[in-house]
Amino acid sequence: MHPLLRLVGAITAICIGAAVALALVYSATKEPIAEQKRLKLLRSLRSVLPPFDNAIDRDTKELDLGVDTRGNPVTKAFYLAMREGKPVGTAFQMTAPDGYSGDIAILMGVDPEGKITGIEIVSHKETPGLGDKIVKESWRNQFKGKSLTIGRLDVKKDGGEIDQFSGATISPRAVVKAVKEGLKLYAKEFPDGRR
């Protein structure tokens, strides 16, 4: 066989083998990956909402919120939690753009009266040991039961009721601000509680 032909043949054969193997693995893992994502979403939804019994990942309401700076349309999904046919809460994601070193993504749950049922930090890039204390449960629990009218949603430094951390005020402040904006958005989109 011509040496060049052998060269090309060998590398082609290896590439085809690799492509086939990868396509197989991809199709085999596609379902489990989607399922894992769904389970993860459900876990976080359960942690910020009161107990619910509906298929919440299908009971969503998509809202158009205009376009972002790059012109891509922005939609936000509101997850509607029901228990025995009655609405018990709504969960949605907010982004705090003013964290210390990047965006902080927050999942928050609100009950029909507009009180916070829980928040969870989905992702963040805050400094380990300082700003990253925002993921601690004891800190996040301070938000529970507060609303725009009940309790003061501000860090203590700004006269509110939420702890800041020594050496790190920026991260908690950013989260508080985003949560407040979330409550305002909720009040605007669901003016009479949720119906």
Partner: protein, 240 residues
């Protein structure tokens, strides 16, 4: 000690590269295996594969995940490369190795996403970057391409274990001292204030630098260091 493994003939088609006083097969595999863990520990001795080592060793869990993932890729690619070593023409061997390695990495990537989203998120970009982990291409080129399949697999497992152990050591030190936990469980009381710098990028360099030095001390000196440097200054260590 490393003779059995370095008895590599550059040409192709050498089926049994082991030299005359032939040790039993099991012994050769064991030697290849231990070699990767100790004498040629990829991280601590050869100082290879640093990016994943430093970046994901912030906790024991991440370190273990990365170690297992890299070991899987290393063993898998060593296996396939050794299997195809007489089929791959020398001139295109590097691209061919890269394709093999990248395939195993993609398989690992998809599998981790399907098995543990938490680990997938924690390791992030360092999963695809296993492709360019110098250890893996280096073992494919230096060992797997010249040795039979079983030995290549033993080498892959040994090197992988060496890599994993170094990662675990680093991860344990950083998680215990930098975060006060092991696998997420708090070790000390509330009064413990962790050495935060250790979980930051800067701390990883400091810890690994110290570990490399300790590893050097434990090893018998291979070749004498430049005269005059060895003895006196060792006592004058510490900070500066």
């Amino acid at each position: 000690m490393a003779d059995a493994k370095t008895a590599t003939h550059p040409g192709e088609g050498v089926a049994e590269p082991i030299a005359v006083p032939r040790p039993s097969r099991l012994k050769v595999w064991a030697q290849d295996f231990v070699n990767g863990v100790r004498a040629e520990n990829p991280v601590l001795k050869l100082v290879l594969g640093l990016c994943p080592t430093l970046a994901v060793s912030t906790s024991v869990f991440n370190a273990l995940g990365m170690g297992v993932a890299a070991t899987f890729v290393l063993t898998g690619s060593n296996f396939v490369v050794a299997l195809l070593r007489n089929f791959i023409p020398g001139r295109v061997r590097i691209p061919a190795f890269i394709v093999v390695i990248a395939s195993f990495v993609t398989i690992t990537d998809l599998s981790i996403a399907a098995l543990s989203p938490e680990l997938y998120e924690a390791l992030g970009i360092f999963i695809p970057l296993i492709v360019v982990n110098c250890i893996i291409l280096a073992r494919a080129e230096a060992f797997a391409a010249k040795n039979p399949v079983t030995q290549a697999v033993a080498d892959g497992l040994g090197m992988g274990l060496g890599f994993t152990l170094s990662l675990l050591l680093l991860g344990a030190i950083r998680e215990v001292l930098g975060n006060g936990t092991v696998l997420g469980y708090p070790l000390f009381g509330e009064s413990f204030s962790p050495v935060i710098v250790l979980v930051l990028p800067a701390g990883s360099f400091l810890v690994l630098g110290g570990l490399v030095a300790i590893f050097n001390l434990l090893q018998p000196p291979h070749k004498p260091q430049p005269a005059g440097l060895a003895g006196a200054e060792a006592s004058a260590s510490g900070g500066h």
